[in-house]
């Protein structure tokens, strides 16, 4: 199974770039136009557009054109899935390690 076939892998892959993490961090404050996103990065509109496309393909960001301006916003679901995966496994391992410890200590 190719890694990109998995939605969660795609989300993590998209967030492996510092530029894209910066974009996501700034979008966490709310919707922004593509040109406003590009400005502080000092990269071209086309450059930022490519990064946004990766985030969009990973289901992290939605883009909408209103008039002549494109706006981006975060999509919560996929981010929620990524953190839900981590939360789920963290809780499960904490509990498992507790039970494992109690069990193995009882063996000696």
């Amino acid at each position: 199974v190719p890694a990109v076939a998995d939605p969660l892998d795609a989300a993590f892959a998209a967030l492996s770039s510092p530029v894209r993490r910066d974009l996501v961090a700034r979008l966490s404050g709310g919707e922004q136009s593509v040109s406003a996103l590009a400005e502080p990065l000092g990269i071209t509109l086309q450059g930022v557009s490519q990064h946004l496309q990766v985030l969009q393909d990973a289901g992290l960001v939605a883009r909408e054109k209103r008039g002549r301006t494109s706006y981006c916003r975060l999509v919560g679901t996929r981010l929620g899935e990524a953190s839900a995966w981590l939360d789920h496994h963290r809780r499960a391992w904490e509990r498992s390690l507790e039970l494992f410890g109690d069990y193995v200590e009882g063996l000696e």
């Binding site: 199974v1 890694a3 998995d6 939605p7 969660l8 892998d9 993590f12 892959a13 967030l15 492996s16 510092p18 993490r21 996501v24 961090a25 966490s28 975060l74 999509v75 919560g76 679901t77 981010l79 929620g80 899935e81 990524a82 953190s83 995966w85 981590l86 789920h88 496994h89 963290r90 809780r91 499960a92 391992w93 904490e94 509990r95 498992s96 390690l97 507790e98 039970l99 494992f100 410890g101 109690d102 069990y103 193995v104 200590e105 063996l107 000696e108």
Partner: protein, 144 residues
């Protein structure tokens, strides 16, 4: 963070801890993530060998997790892939679990690391990731 790391010191030597972690008759006795008891435990403990654990909660239907052993260095270290076959986490892809048992005066320090397996996700371990995902957790809660 793109992975989960959990540690605990247990009052048992690494040899015993390793066996309790990898032998089905022991695993059956302590494996209860989220209160789900094991319904089946199959472990073929050799490099490339597979394991599969079924577990069920109150509502009955068993969920299965399984994978293959990658590294085996008893009694200190083992790693295995991890994939949910069904249930709410099916489709979240393959991940990797690495467990270490290091001898300490009190017994063993057990470290569990559970990480996503995609190459890209490994690249994501660079700094900044952690803060980012922490922030995302809050954002996700708002946006969902």
């Amino acid at each position: 963070v793109s992975d989960v790391v959990i540690e605990r010191v247990v009052a048992a030597a690494p040899e015993l801890a390793f066996r309790a972690w990898t032998e089905p008759e022991h695993v059956r006795r302590w494996w209860r993530p989220h209160g789900m008891g094991p319904t089946s435990v199959e472990i073929d403990l050799r490099p490339g060998g597979r394991y599969r654990i079924g577990m069920a909660g109150g509502d009955g239907e068993a969920v299965y997790v399984g994978g293959a052993f990658r590294e085996l260095d008893p009694p200190h270290r083992l790693s295995y892939t991890w994939r949910w076959e069904n249930g709410e986490l099916a489709g979240t892809g393959e991940s990797l679990v690495t467990v270490e048992f290091r001898a300490v005066p009190a017994g063993s320090r057990v470290t569990i690391r559970h990480e996503l397996l995609a190459d890209a996700a490994r690249g994501a371990h660079e700094q900044g990731w952690s803060d980012c995902l922490d922030a995302l957790g809050g954002v996700a809660a708002h946006a969902a």
